[in-house]
Subunit: 160 residues, 2 copies
DNA sequence: CTTGACCTGTTATGATATTACATACATAGA
DNA sequence: TCTATGTATGTAATATCATAACAGGTCAAG
């Protein structure tokens, strides 16, 4: 993860989002998957901010733009994006966020600010190694793991 | 955590559960909290197996036993138990599991078997240290974190 | 024996997610 | 080009998870 925790830092977000979108196109092309209008639009919506959106929030946006307005429309597009590694599901929030580093094979930790609700990705490999090792002691084989932190982002810390 | 990953090992479960219950009484007494019939019963239900139960599963059990049969009855008892550290919420499952080590101040990782659905607690401090450090690099202050692993428990690995 | 805090129960509703089925589209093979 | 096949989308209906708001009951401190 070359640009850690981008989300909290001031950055050219238009560029950030456009870059992620371009990479997403490349990723799906490489995987032989189809980046359809709904899917692209959902990704764009998620990319607008470094926050997590609920499926119904996304759905509402889609509906006014003439896409379907039933839950499966949103859930399917979101599932596709998650499968392709273009978005992540935040368990703690029952919500979804665009991946900032599409293309990289990664399983990040998420830093969720309880005040401004921004969500950043953080490198999680060290934590995962510890977890896998601890699980191995019990004979448990970890296939996937969820690591999410709730707390205060640098900006909100300053204000408190 | 002195008896790591108890859940997956053969053990005298009646004793395990009874011990947890006894400690729970001690914990609540020490906290000046009330271990009422509903709350005790919910804890007992959770202690019957090393699995996670949804609030509505618990509620159904309560209802046939003459307790209230509306969701808040279960959610309130579960919330109480979680607050007291007597139960944990498993985010990934939207479900709850009894704490195996009540009284110890701990924030474990959870090992969730995708086949038999058993849930074990594992030591998470090393992983937490890594996570906190990584977050600190971004200026993020971690207040609480969720670490959950999905995979195969020793028993189910054997069968695969 | 009353007051105040807390617990329980109920109604109602809100929020999140999936199943099932019908229709439309895209692409590879005849 | 046509058409068969897999895949994507749209919709209705329903399942699952969770909370707000309020009424009544219990308990223990003063």
């Amino acid at each position: 993860m070359p640009d850690p925790d981008l989300a909290f830092a001031a950055h050219d977000h238009a560029h950030c989002a456009q870059d992620a979108l371009a990479r997403a196109e490349a990723v799906t092309a490489a995987a032989g998957a189809r980046m359809t209008p709904v899917r692209r639009r959902v990704l764009e919506i998620l990319l607008e901010e470094h926050k997590a959106l609920g499926a119904y929030d996304v759905l509402a946006r889609l509906a006014v733009e003439g896409f379907g307005n039933q839950p499966p429309v949103a859930y399917r597009a979101l599932e596709f994006l998650v499968d392709q590694g273009l978005a992540h599901r935040i368990q703690r929030l029952n919500a979804f966020t665009a991946c900032v580093h599409p293309g990289k094979d990664h399983a990040p930790a998420f830093l969720i600010c309880r005040t401004c609700h921004m969500v950043a990705e953080a490198e999680a490999s060290a934590a995962r190694v510890s977890l896998d090792a601890e699980a191995a002691k019990a004979g448990f084989l970890v296939e996937r793991s969820t690591i999410e932190a709730l707390g205060l982002c640098p900006n909100c810390r300053g204000q408190a």
